[in-house]
């Protein structure tokens, strides 16, 4: 491989990595919002809705994401919904990981001692106020490490997008492997990109975790 080819290949992979990061951000954003909603429904919501949220969580966590991605990508056009692939991935992936995020948030919210609620009530705080300024900040600290684990799984699962015809890091690696016939190095380079993304997330997470401990 000439160095020019090596550089252009690396840049091409970096483009793929950018798409991977973008998809991950989208998925994790949807998962955070929807997961929080599910957790709130289960903890404080109207009972039937809470049970529905619990059932959703059980169902989503028992099925592989790949099946949901293939299924929705092929069925949505039949419903007359012609969404772009990236949007399908962000929505379906986001809702899938919302089930995992909901477990994390629920555990964290439930782990804040009950006495915190009592103390807030005694100080005359309203429920919403009490939740947002007393309970939530404490739960956030507790939920960070397990939430990052979910986020890492989400990042790794964006690779499945290449299996339904999308273009991201793995697809970029496949193209380079086919063009240069250096298949093993191409996929190892893809793995290295993922490693850099995931390892930095967990390192940043550890750093933030350390800082938050003293807040």
């Amino acid at each position: 491989m000439t160095s020019a080819l090596l550089i252009s290949s690396a840049l091409y992979l970096a483009q793929g990595a950018l798409v991977t990061v973008g998809l991950s951000f989208g998925m994790i954003a949807v998962a955070t919002v929807a997961g929080m909603l599910l957790a709130l429904l289960r903890l404080y919501g109207w009972r039937p809705l809470g049970l529905l949220a619990a059932a959703y969580g059980l169902a989503a966590r028992g099925v592989p994401l790949l099946v949901l991605l293939i299924g929705s990508y092929f069925s949505l056009p039949y419903l007359g919904l012609d969404l772009p692939l990236w949007l399908v991935v962000v929505l379906i992936g986001g809702l899938y990981f919302a089930a995992y995020a909901a477990e994390v948030f629920r555990a964290a919210l439930a782990a804040v001692p009950r006495t915190q609620w009592d103390a807030g009530r005694a100080l005359g705080m309203r429920r919403v106020q009490l939740f947002t300024i007393v309970i939530l900040p404490q739960a956030r600290r507790l939920s960070l490490p397990p939430f990052l684990n979910v986020a890492l799984v989400a990042v790794k699962n964006t690779s499945l997008v290449s299996a339904i015809g999308g273009w991201e890091l793995v697809a970029a690696g496949r193209e380079i492997g086919e063009r240069t016939m250096e298949i093993l190095p191409a996929y190892l380079a893809v793995a290295a990109f993922y490693f850099v993304i995931c390892f930095s997330i967990s390192r940043i997470g550890r750093h933030v975790e350390k800082k938050m401990r003293y807040v």
């Binding site: 299924g71 790794k156 690779s159 298949i183 996929y187 793995a191 967990s202």
Partner: protein, 217 residues
């Protein structure tokens, strides 16, 4: 609803489900053994072995299973190493899950109070015997719940083997999709089969946990 279509193709789906279970069992066996090696390396007295263990765990946990399967199935043949799609998938999943399960073993062993080991040694046991009759039996009970969760993750990860055309459940559903225009029925059925397998595993686990509860002294 096109139920007749699903019923006509039930044998294909069942074969797929059987292959999914076979992949999961293969990966579970590989990973329970590999996990032992990883835990041994990570807890070794010798720093170089510990570093090898840590490096392996970090690499395996920070790269997607899809890429690992592709490295084995598409990458290794360029070095003259050829494996069937099934072998590649089982090997890749065994390797990745060795990292996860190794960490589970380590956490389980480290959760046993050091005094247990000290007491065993004080009674004149050799370190190996203490590990076998004092530490492992206690650690195994604590390891069962996370091990079961990992098994459910393994079951779901077998779907990735469809990308290298292993004839498992997801691959079977893709074949049915190409043959027909019954996407909802096909995917609802496949999702339900996966759900049934996961729920079955979870149920068996509950039984095992009930039979071997964690005893806190």
């Amino acid at each position: 609803m096109n139920l007749a279509f699903i019923l006509n193709n039930a044998p294909l789906l069942m074969e797929g489900a059987a292959m999914t279970v076979a992949l999961a069992i293969g990966a579970l066996l590989g990973a329970t053994l590999g996990g032992g090696v990883v835990a041994f390396l990570r807890m070794s007295r010798y720093a170089p072995l510990r570093h090898v263990g840590t490096g392996f765990v970090e690499i395996m946990r920070n790269t997607p299973i899809l890429v690992q399967i592709f490295v084995l199935y598409f990458g290794l043949p360029t070095l003259g190493v050829h494996m069937s799609a099934f072998t590649s998938a089982v090997l890749a999943m065994s390797l990745q899950n060795s990292a996860y399960i190794g960490e589970i073993y380590r956490a389980g062993l480290e959760s046993i109070h050091p005094r247990q080991r000290e007491a065993a040694l004080a009674l004149g046991m050799m370190p190996g015997l203490a590990l076998r009759v004092i530490l492992l039996p206690q650690a195994l009970r604590r390891v069962l719940p996370p091990l079961g969760n990992q098994l459910i993750i393994i079951v779901k990860d077998t779907s990735v083997a469809s990308t290298i055309a292993v004839a498992e459940l997801t691959q079977a559903s893709k074949l049915l999709l190409d043959r027909s225009a019954a996407p909802y029925e096909t995917f609802a059925t496949v999702a339900l089969i996966y759900l049934a397998i996961s729920a079955g595993v979870a149920g068996v686990l509950k039984l095992v946990e009930w039979r071997y509860p964690v005893r806190v002294s």
